[in-house]
């Protein structure tokens, strides 16, 4: 008898070998487990057996039923997965067609650079403020230790307005405006448009500057150097830079920061006039005469200040060789900033 049950399994397994799809499997299921199936028949036959035999036989045939059921289930889920897979594989699209969701726009390169710089300084605890572009001569020059008829005025050719004011040539007037309003400690950055009488492929009559000012009782040149070192790393990555003596009327000592020429890696090329270095910003320690202009107690405070042209950095960062591209709203240029 045990042979008989065994035979059923053997037969089932032989049948199973031939199954290729779920339909065939269903036929096999009906053949063994259906109402008239071989296993079902066997179960029906039990009623003719003695209670003892029924017990033994029942347990054996139930095992066979469970085994067959389980094998059918396994195979069924396998086949279903396979069939679904095949069906999905036939349901094709051209994935290489362009995406159709609304395209992204772009930020202007000046905004991109200004955002990166202001984010850095805000992290360093600076506050950001804004001021007028139409300025008084006093804020743009006198208060910054540039008296009338001083040769330093040649450094910045100025637009004068018919109402007696001028277009600021630098963001530095904001140093005065902020220090007139609040007392140290101050850590301020400001960003905005400035204007100079100049127009060629590297100079625009309107451009943008970012200015920084930190004033307290013991701010030093080493703080200035460290701060700008962080700035260079943030914007240009790990690149050699140098901090060299220079002159600005509103800082003393004054310095300029050069980075190694990113085009020739310092070997010397046209862009860097063969020097291997590119100037990126001017800076220094706030001139005591500027503190005098804002009526700070002499000798009480020291401060660091720096100013940089955003366009210049944008041009370096994105390889833009004509500054006028930045202002003519050409979508073919702007789209490249995505």
């Amino acid at each position: 008898m045990s042979d008989n049950k065994h035979e059923l399994i053997v037969e089932f397994e032989n049948d199973l070998q031939t199954v290729k799809d779920t339909a065939a499997l269903e036929n096999i299921r009906v053949k063994y487990l259906g109402k008239k199936g071989k296993v079902t028949e066997q179960l029906k036959n039990m009623k003719d057996l003695s209670p003892e035999e029924r017990k033994t036989f029942g347990s054996v045939i139930n095992k066979v039923k469970l085994e067959i059921q389980s094998k059918i289930d396994d195979l069924k889920s396998n086949l279903e997965r396979k069939e679904q897979d095949e069906a999905l594989r036939k349901d094709t699209i051209d994935t290489s067609l362009p995406g159709t969701f609304a395209e992204l726009g772009t930020f202007h390169p000046v905004t991109l650079i200004a955002q990166r710089i202001s984010e850095l300084f805000i992290k360093l605890g600076y506050f950001i403020t804004d001021g007028p572009e139409i300025e008084e001569e006093y804020y743009n020059f006198e208060a910054l230790n540039v008296p009338a008829h001083h040769p330093a005025r040649d450094m910045q050719d100025t637009f004068y307005l018919e109402n007696g004011r001028l277009l600021r040539t630098q963001t530095s007037p904001m140093q005065i405006r902020v220090m007139e309003t609040i007392k140290p400690p101050i850590k301020m950055i400001t960003f905005g448009k400035v204007y100079r009488v100049d127009n060629d492929i590297t100079h625009s009559p309107m451009f943008h500057q970012m200015e920084g000012l930190a004033v307290d009782k013991n701010v030093s040149m080493s703080d200035l150097k460290g701060t700008l070192g962080v700035f260079v790393k943030e914007i240009f990555g790990k690149i050699p830079y140098r901090f060299r003596a220079s002159y600005f009327p509103f800082t003393e000592p004054s310095a300029e920061v050069d980075i190694q020429c990113i085009f020739c890696k310092g070997k010397g090329c046209n862009v860097c006039s063969n020097s291997g270095w590119i100037e990126i910003l001017g800076c220094g320690m706030v001139n005591p005469k500027v503190f005098e202009s804002v009526n700070y107690e002499p000798g009480k405070y020291t401060g660091l200040a720096f100013g940089l042209g955003i366009e210049r950095i944008a041009m370096l960062a994105y390889g833009i060789n004509d500054i006028r591209l930045l202002y003519n709203s050409d979508i073919r240029f702007l789209k490249q900033l995505q």
């Binding site: 905004t111 080493s222 060299r244 003596a245 063969n274 979508i331």
Partner: protein, 793 residues
């Protein structure tokens, strides 16, 4: 300014490479912009002597020469030039030479004659544009010598950008002084010339300064029996290399002294001066005077003139006069060494557009002691190479001696400002290297400033000197330990940042355009009379814009002319508005430009032109981003917009912006679409409005009843009126009412439009039934029929 290494070596024995010297100067604030080495590209080019010149057997225009270069057998060279003859000395590029243009000289066969080198023109040497023939060298040139040596081209020239504070460095002596301090090398100086001579100048020349402010010191020397002629080669060479044109020995000497020790001088033909009195005074207002360059100029009373008792001789510190200038006939020379007021010289040079080497130095301040020294040095030079008889002594008017400037420097302040820790001794050493005199007391150092360092005025200036010599490179890097003061950012700028992010997400490109607009901007774009720029670059950049719209309009037009089809731009910038009281406000504005085809080049979505309602939706979202409720109402006030396709944007009680379709009459080019949409919103105004408060309503648990309502109405009936009526009749069971279709055309009576609304009703306390809603719908329909001739569809 050009500085020659060989000239520097008159003052300092320095063996460093040109690169090292340039770097050191640059780091110390004398920025070397370029190192020029004219002889660097001429290696292996030597002096050759042409021994013979024969015709080329196979070419009419070529010759075959034998050239001796004092090295082995003479070279056979085929040459295309014809201006040479046997016996001439010419530059010869030998085999293996790399020419300045990169060409390599190799043995060649030219029309089957062998050639072993090249004889060169000035152009081929990169010395001049002259390509008319070979460069025929002076007869005494040494055969075989490197041409760079023969032509004295083995020079290193530093082109230095001297900052406006460092007038003292506008000379070879000045630069050498800094080098001596940086490299800690002694500064050499020859014995200075003296005032010896024959007779006594005081018997022949009197100097009268009428205004000591304008001229603190005026010194002069007289030199007789002068023979004006050419300067010696070495002097001409130095002047040429620094960029000056040699003129004659007298003028050349004054220029030489200026580049040597930094003092501008002037030479007069003494015989052209009437009487014996030199008067320094202010010019007469409106006075006419012809300068050295032959141009007649009109002077003003802020200018300094040098005059005799009858006439003006020179513009003090700026330029001499034509009449009294030194010429070949000059026999007696009066040399001037003076010190003029910085501001007066600058104003004069500016007013007459006459910036000169001389004015540049006076503007920055010269060494008042050098008036005399420069005269004696000039006479010393003159005696060394031209026939002349100096008159003994100096006529010197020095009525306002400049007091010695002393600056107190504390060691603590030096270290506090630089962020280092130097001892008093180290600081003293650095300052001594700069030739500053130091005395000490219990409070620190007292620095006596030499008369040439006009930039040293206060303690911070001395600290910069310490830092320069200590080396900016050696300063450590730290971050300031400053408490943070919280100052909130301007609210309009914060709004701008948020809006920029939104618009970029929506596919807009940010532009930045000039704040200037053309003088001929149409009136419709000008909200106020714009502020004009006095010295504008052009008429196109004459006015400060009062809004951003004309710039945006231009940007869109320009792109359309480039065949761009889908234009979505925005700009955030200021408008410049004058007010009656000469006050100016600079509100921050957002300008949006929208034009062309929506979904242009999108292969799936349907294409259509941007229209008024696209922009309106965008503006409503911007209101939400600003946290302010915008009320948008149609208007007809802005003449730059289409009269019936424009609207005003209100926030609170204020108009904060407008938008619309640009008036078609402003578009004349056929390539430019007539459908350009522009909006301008005043962010500064919005930032002053109170933000709309958000209050969350309870969400009902009961189901809604949805009804659609489609009606036709005459075209002139507006959605906003229908909505108002509908809401009033629906009562508070109406939860939402959305317009989901607008249609006119086929199936709709002409002059009418179909509007379809989706209404959702809900009760907070119970489930609504059709029985509750039906009477409401009837009421609504009845009202719409009565008020707007609406018909149900």
């Amino acid at each position: 300014m050009k500085i020659l290494l060989s000239w520097l070596k008159d003052y300092i024995d320095i063996d460093e490479t040109p690169e090292k010297i340039a770097e050191a100067l640059t780091m110390a604030g004398l920025e070397v912009e370029e190192i020029i080495e004219p002889g660097k590209n001429l290696q292996n080019i030597v002096v050759g002597k042409i021994l013979s010149k024969d015709p080329h057997p196979n070419a009419d225009k070529l010759t075959v020469c034998k050239v001796d270069i004092n090295k082995g057998e003479p070279l056979q060279i085929v040459c295309g030039a014809s201006n040479m003859k046997a016996g001439d000395k010419v530059p010869v590029a030998t085999i293996g030479t790399k020419m300045p243009d990169g060409f390599m000289i190799a043995p060649a066969k030219i029309r089957s004659v062998e050639s072993y080198g090249m004889m060169c023109s000035k152009k081929e040497l990169g010395l001049a544009e002259d390509h008319s023939g070979l460069y025929i060298l002076p007869e005494d040139s040494k055969v075989g010598e490197e041409i760079a040596k023969t032509l004295q081209l083995n020079e290193v020239i530093f082109d230095i950008n001297i900052t406006p504070d460092r007038g003292d460095a506008l000379s070879h002596l000045g630069v050498a002084r800094d080098l001596s301090a940086i490299f800690n090398l002694p500064l050499k100086r020859d014995t200075l010339g003296d005032a010896s001579g024959e007779g006594n100048i005081l018997d022949e020349v009197k100097i009268e300064i009428q205004n000591n402010e304008l001229c603190p010191r005026y010194s002069a020397r007289l030199i007789k029996d002068v023979q004006v002629g050419e300067s010696p080669e070495w002097l001409k060479h130095r002047l040429t290399q620094v960029g000056l044109r040699p003129l004659n020995n007298i003028v050349d000497i004054t220029n030489y002294i200026m580049y040597d020790i930094g003092h501008p001088m002037h030479a007069f033909d003494f015989d052209k001066i009437s009487g014996n009195k030199i008067i320094v005074k202010a010019a007469k207002e409106g006075e006419k005077f012809t300068t050295l360059d032959g141009i007649e100029r009109t002077l003003s009373n802020s200018m300094i003139v040098i005059a005799d008792e009858q006439k003006t001789l020179a513009l003090g510190g700026v330029m001499g006069g034509l009449e009294s200038s030194v010429t070949e006939e000059t026999k007696t020379v009066l040399l001037e060494g003076a010190c003029f007021n910085e501001v007066a010289v600058r104003k004069t040079a500016k007013a007459l557009s006459l910036p000169s080497d001389s004015s540049a130095r006076f503007e920055r301040g010269v060494n008042i002691d050098n008036t005399v020294i420069s005269l004696n040095e000039a006479v010393k030079l003159m005696k060394s190479f031209c026939k002349c008889t100096p008159v003994q002594g100096i006529a010197d008017a020095y009525n306002m001696p400049v007091p010695l400037r002393q600056i107190r420097v504390s060691v603590k302040n030096v270290n506090r400002l630089i962020g280092i820790n130097l001892s008093a001794e180290r600081i003293e050493t650095y300052l001594l290297r700069l030739k500053l005199e130091i005395s000490k007391d219990e409070d620190g150092l007292i620095v006596s400033v030499p008369p040439y360092r006009h930039d040293l005025q206060q303690e911070a200036d001395i600290i910069e000197e310490v830092a320069r010599i200590y080396g900016y490179d050696n300063i450590p890097e730290t971050l300031p330990e400053i408490r943070t003061t919280v100052v909130p950012q301007e609210k309009d700028a914060l709004l701008a940042d948020k809006i920029k992010n939104y618009l970029v997400s929506c596919g807009f490109h940010e532009t930045i355009t000039y704040s200037f607009i053309p003088e001929k901007t149409p009136d419709c774009f000008l909200s106020k009379r714009p502020i004009a720029i006095k010295n504008a670059l052009s008429e196109e950049m004459k006015l400060m814009r009062t809004n951003l719209v004309p710039s945006m309009f231009e940007a869109i037009k320009r792109n359309m002319l480039n065949d761009e089809k889908n234009l979505k731009f925005f700009e955030v910038g200021k408008a410049y508005l004058p007010s009656d009281s000469n006050q100016i406000t600079e509100p921050l504005r957002l300008c949006i430009g929208l034009a062309g085809a929506k979904n242009h080049l999108n292969w799936k979505d349907s294409k259509s032109e941007y229209d008024f309602h696209d922009l309106k939706g965008l503006i409503e979202n911007i209101g939400a981003i600003c946290g302010v409720k915008f009320w948008i109402t149609g208007g007809e006030t802005a003449s730059m917009y289409h009269p019936s396709k424009q609207a005003e944007i209100r926030a609170g009680k204020h108009v904060v912006g407008t938008f619309g379709v640009i008036h078609p009459s402003l578009i004349t080019n056929k390539k430019v679409s007539k459908n350009i949409l522009i909006a301008e919103i005043d962010l500064t105004a919005i930032s002053k409005e109170n933000p709309a408060k958000i209050k969350i309503k309870e969400i009902s648990e009961f189901p809604s009843v949805d009804r659609d309502l489609a009606i036709t109405v005459p075209d002139n009936i507006e959605h906003k009126d229908i909505l108002k009526t509908l809401k009033a009749d629906a009562g508070n069971l109406l939860e939402t009412c959305d317009l989901f279709d607008v249609y006119s055309g086929k199936g709709i009576e002409p002059g009418h439009k179909s509007l379809a609304y989706s209404l959702r009703f809900r009760d907070k306390t119970k489930t609504l039934t059709d029985e509750a809603i039906n009477p409401i719908m009837e009421r609504i329909i009845k009202s719409l029929e009565q008020k707007y001739q609406a018909k149900l569809r």
